[in-house]
């Protein structure tokens, strides 16, 4: 009896806090390897290189919480980055080009939302098709070659270092995280998202405007993906139609690792932050101990399958208990 009482809380903590615990494990493991992992350069670079993914993950989380899925984030990211660069190359002022790109993301989000919410289609397959479509758009815009920005100021958008240390990209990421955490936790819109994701019909009959709210979640996802795309293009000073190839899957698994569920109604923005950072730290550690890149791909694939499988399995067990 005593045994069960003691292990139960430990089990609960283990299953609820998978991402932070696993991250802690990696940090401890890395102490035993003589690598440049624990240098301020690597740690800042670690946050910096995951910032664009974190920005995408924030919008993705909002959609997931409200019971939808947005697989077009990779496509939106790529195209908006390319639009920004091409507008600036054509002589448009940088702020206007950035705004147009973000507006583009919002429009794609609105189309996704209209098709899935108002026309009642399956979100994952519609947004998958939208991702294919946008990849085609990106290839057409760039003729499938990487393009670069001719205006040197564009790079500073992400790379300018505040106090000579912290890149603007990180600040934009932190601002996005704070805004999305605030939206989900402290606004009625955020609470409605949880209600809709938890049970669509119940939310509808309790007087929540389910159609508008759910469509708005797709718009938010489009906006964050477009913002991430612009920041990514500025960070590496180029636009390429292949940037978004695996983003949707990567973000989806990272968000689920963090503890947001595909079932909807469970999770949060801060959890997604931990999830994305965990996968980032993992692949950084892999690089540091020099694992072959194809073996890395295999490990990441197995890891993604494992995490999604566990998410499904947890729900299956809960269903059987009820």
């Amino acid at each position: 009896m005593l045994n069960i009482k003691l292990t139960q809380p430990i089990k609960n903590v283990l299953s609820a806090q998978k991402a932070p615990l696993a991250m802690l494990l990696i940090f401890i493991t890395m102490l035993f390897f003589k690598t440049p992992f624990y240098t301020s350069y690597n740690l800042i670079d670690l946050v910096n290189s995951n910032s664009t993914l974190l920005i995408v993950a924030m919008g993705f989380t909002v959609v997931l919480v409200a019971g939808g899925v947005d697989l077009s984030v990779g496509g939106v990211m790529t195209v908006s980055g390319i639009i920004a660069i091409q507008l600036i190359n054509a002589g448009v002022a940088i702020p206007i080009a950035v705004l147009v790109s973000i507006l583009f993301g919002a429009i794609i989000g609105a189309i996704n939302g209209y098709l899935t919410v108002y026309q009642n289609t399956e979100p994952f397959i519609i947004t998958l098709g939208m991702g294919v479509l946008l990849t085609g758009v990106a290839q057409q815009l760039t003729t499938a070659r990487p393009i670069s920005c001719t205006n040197p100021d564009f790079q500073n958008l992400a790379n300018y270092k505040l106090f000579g240390q912290i890149p603007v990209l990180i600040l934009v990421m932190i601002a996005t995280v704070i805004i999305v955490v605030w939206i989900l936790r402290s606004t009625s819109f955020g609470r409605n998202c949880y209600a809709i994701g938890g049970d669509y019909e119940v939310a509808k009959y309790s007087g929540i405007n389910v159609l508008t709210t759910k469509t708005l979640t797709f718009v938010i996802s489009g906006v964050t993906a477009a913002l991430a795309g612009v920041m990514l293009s500025s960070w590496v000073n180029s636009g390429n139609s292949t940037y978004g190839d695996q983003t949707a899957l990567y973000i989806a698994s990272a968000v689920v690792v963090g503890g947001t569920s595909f079932a909807g109604g469970i999770g949060g923005a801060f959890k997604s932050l931990l999830g994305v950072m965990f996968i980032g730290v993992l692949s950084n550690a892999f690089n540091m101990i020099q694992i072959d890149s194809y073996i890395q791909q295999l490990l990441v694939g197995l890891f993604i399958v494992g995490i999604i499988w566990l998410d499904c399995y947890d729900r299956k067990l809960k269903k059987e208990v009820v």
Binding site: L115, L128, V132, T143, L249, I308
Partner: protein, 323 residues
């Protein structure tokens, strides 16, 4: 036929009508379209895709989806071609098909044991498995391509599949007809065939009615794995090369072909015959666009747009039928 019924026919088959109009325009503008050479070209492209689409039809009819076929093609192709030298062509072929079958069984095992019985969950799991299969193929060959013609022992079967003819029809076409016949008989005459559409229609109801839903899921993924393997062999024979990334993009094309043919994505309704029509239309469309000089990038865009349109229209149809 009254005008009313013509209008409603066009509305219900918008995409099929659209592709036919495209074909007619191409035939008028570009006289090369109706030459024997071009029609043979269409038939050649038809080969690998139709195998995948036939397998994918069973999956979608059963209410699931499989994004791992791209990875399975890559893996089977490199394994089969690289094994011709060490163990001979017949054994290599059998090992290749077995690898496809095993991949399908792994997918179904993950789905059943994890309880990933929703289409979206199956989509993510198989997408992840696609990454895994591709990574295994990359590690297996060290990211290099394997050339069929470098084999020292005989590879006559592969040459026959790639280029051979039986009378007026190609060997690939014969393989396709055999697969179609077997799958059609399974679909329309057997217990397991009926179980597939019942499982896709309403899984809970099917299970309560005593249909072995789990066995059905294993069956459809196994068939899809085998068909993907056959597609990989046909593809590798035609291009005489096996690359560890050659399957990329085939999964969306197969889903597109199935959906354009008219198999409902929600499961329960569909047929392998419809998929044959859908695949023909997709390949004819890309052939027309090539002849008209449209870039591959815009074709990629159109593929996405048609996928969205097909699902949207299908949904509207089901609602108007009072579903």
């Amino acid at each position: 036929m009254t005008t009313q019924s013509i209008i409603s026919f066009i509305r219900n088959n918008l995409i099929i009508v659209g592709i036919f109009i495209l074909a007619i325009i191409t035939a008028i503008v570009e006289p090369n379209f109706l030459t024997t050479e071009n029609l043979q070209n269409i038939m050649r492209q038809f080969g690998p895709l139709i195998m995948l689409s036939l397998g994918m039809t069973f999956i979608i009819m059963g209410g699931f989806i499989d994004l791992s076929v791209g990875g399975i093609i890559s893996l089977v192709a490199v394994v089969t071609v690289s094994l011709i030298d060490p163990i001979g062509q017949v054994a290599a072929l059998l090992v290749g098909i077995t690898v496809g079958l095993i991949c399908g069984l792994i997918n179904s095992f993950l789905i059943i044991k994890g309880g990933a019985l929703k289409q979206a969950e199956a989509l993510f799991l198989t997408y992840g498995m696609s990454v895994v299969y591709t990574a295994i193929a990359l590690i297996y060959t060290g990211a290099a391509s394997v050339f069929l013609s470098y084999s020292k022992t005989s590879f006559s079967i592969f040459t026959a599949i790639g280029e051979g003819f039986v009378g007026p029809v190609s060997v690939t076409f014969v393989i396709f007809m055999v697969c179609l016949l077997i799958l059609y008989i399974i679909e329309s005459r057997t217990y397991i065939g009926r179980s597939i559409s019942l499982t896709g229609g309403n899984m809970t109801a099917a299970r309560l009615a005593g249909i072995p839903t789990e066995r059905t899921i294993v069956f459809i993924y196994a068939v899809c794995g085998i068909m993907a393997a056959i597609g990989a062999v046909v593809l590798a024979s035609r291009v005489t090369i096996a690359s560890p990334i050659m399957g990329k993009g085939y999964e969306t094309q197969a889903i597109l072909a199935v959906v354009v043919g008219g198999t409902a994505l929600l499961g329960g309704k569909g047929s392998v015959i419809r998929t044959v029509i859908g695949t023909l239309l997709i390949i004819m469309m890309s052939n027309c666009l090539n002849l008209l000089g449209v870039t591959t990038y815009i074709q990629y865009m159109l593929r996405g747009a048609i996928l969205i349109l097909a699902i949207w229209l299908d949904n509207r149809k089901q609602y108007s039928e009072g579903y």
